[in-house]
């Protein structure tokens, strides 16, 4: 009896050591730490989500469909393009291939976070599922303050961003085309978010070559291939240049 009871005895330290069973306190702390980082996304996703819901509604797809799409696909640009799949001849294979093309940039997010997400335990599948552009960029740059559980911090950034998108698009679907104020240009908030994260990374690093390579390769590919087709060539160019400069960059990094 005594032996059996022992593992059930809990003390506060247990929660810190087994991060998958977090106490309310740990969760609350992580949520409070994560929320401020997601405020720009809250703004951007509410607006873009509403616009998406309105667009879906205008094509005859009610709020239920918008909800399902935003909840499961959770990929802004792919969802916008998917409206064209929903309004033309039924072609699931084309829809799959187009989505793979549009979302190919996510492959790089995974490669960048292999290490950071290595020990995320049972939260990991959801963290990867919810790895959109915005969540990726925040996770890349934001570090939890001391005393905040890192797994739950990343989890809440992912979950909050996911919720903003789903709620925003559902709101759009419900509102139809009622508009409260002139929102033209509000979508720039996400561009601003990426610019600021770029600056944060710039300030934190001595070696700016990877950042410059990313901007230059993409800008050149944008000029050469045009706005519709430049992401995959950009990814190839970035990989090529980083691979060619590996020895140099690895040395400068001190490794």
């Amino acid at each position: 009896m005594k032996e059996n009871n022992r593992p059930l005895e809990l003390n506060p330290g247990t929660f810190l050591e087994s991060p998958d069973t977090a106490s309310r306190q740990v969760l609350k702390k992580a949520l409070t730490a994560a929320f401020p980082h997601t405020i720009p996304v809250l703004t951007g996703f509410t607006f873009l989500g509403i616009a998406y819901g309105i667009l879906m509604d205008s094509k005859g797809y009610g709020v239920g469909w918008t909800f399902l799409m935003s909840l499961f696909a959770f990929a802004g640009s792919a969802q916008y393009v998917a409206i064209t799949f929903l309004t033309s001849v039924f072609n699931p294979l084309y829809a799959l291939l187009m989505t793979l093309m549009i979302n190919a940039r996510h492959l790089f997010y995974g490669l960048s976070l292999l290490d950071k997400y290595k020990n995320m335990g049972r939260l990991k599948p959801y963290l990867i599922f919810g790895l959109c552009d915005e969540t990726f960029s925040i996770v890349c740059s934001a570090e939890p303050p001391a005393g905040v559980n890192k797994k739950w911090f990343v989890f809440f950034i992912t979950l909050l961003d996911h919720c903003y998108w789903v709620l925003g698009s559902v709101l759009g679907g419900l509102l139809g085309s009622m508009i409260f104020f002139n929102t033209q240009g509000l979508d720039f908030v996400l561009t601003a978010l990426f610019v600021v994260i770029f600056l944060e990374q710039w300030k934190s690093q001595k070696n700016h070559k990877p950042a410059i390579i990313g901007v230059l390769c993409s800008a050149i590919c944008l000029l050469v291939f045009g706005p519709g087709n430049f992401i995959i060539p950009s990814m190839a160019a970035i990989l090529l240049v980083l691979t060619l400069l590996r020895k140099q960059l690895a040395e400068e990094d001190g490794k």
């Binding site: 980082h37 190919a104 960029s137 240009g185 561009t191 770029f198 600056l199 990313g214 944008l222 990094d253």
Partner: protein, 110 residues
Amino acid sequence: MTLTPGQTLIIICMVTLGTVITRFLPFILFQNNKNQNAYITYLGKVLPYAVIGMLVVYCLKGVNFQSPANWLPAAIAIVCIVMLHYWKSNTLLSIGGGTVIYMFLVQAVF
């Protein structure tokens, strides 16, 4: 609705599947090697910086130089973000300030 509910559901599944594949593939391919390949480790170190650069360009893909209205608002807003950020180092201030300036420019000036 152009498609039937069944067809719509299949399209939603396809878009979900496409997204899930691109998000999970790197983890499935590279996570299980205990002794991670040095090249992949190197990429994991340098890629985040290059990818954020790519994302900035991706957001600006609609910009073109046919008329000042097509690029000047974004250019001014980004310069303001850079200045604000080096001045105050406050993420929300930089993002909010840049967005407000951009909205003002596209709505009232250009």
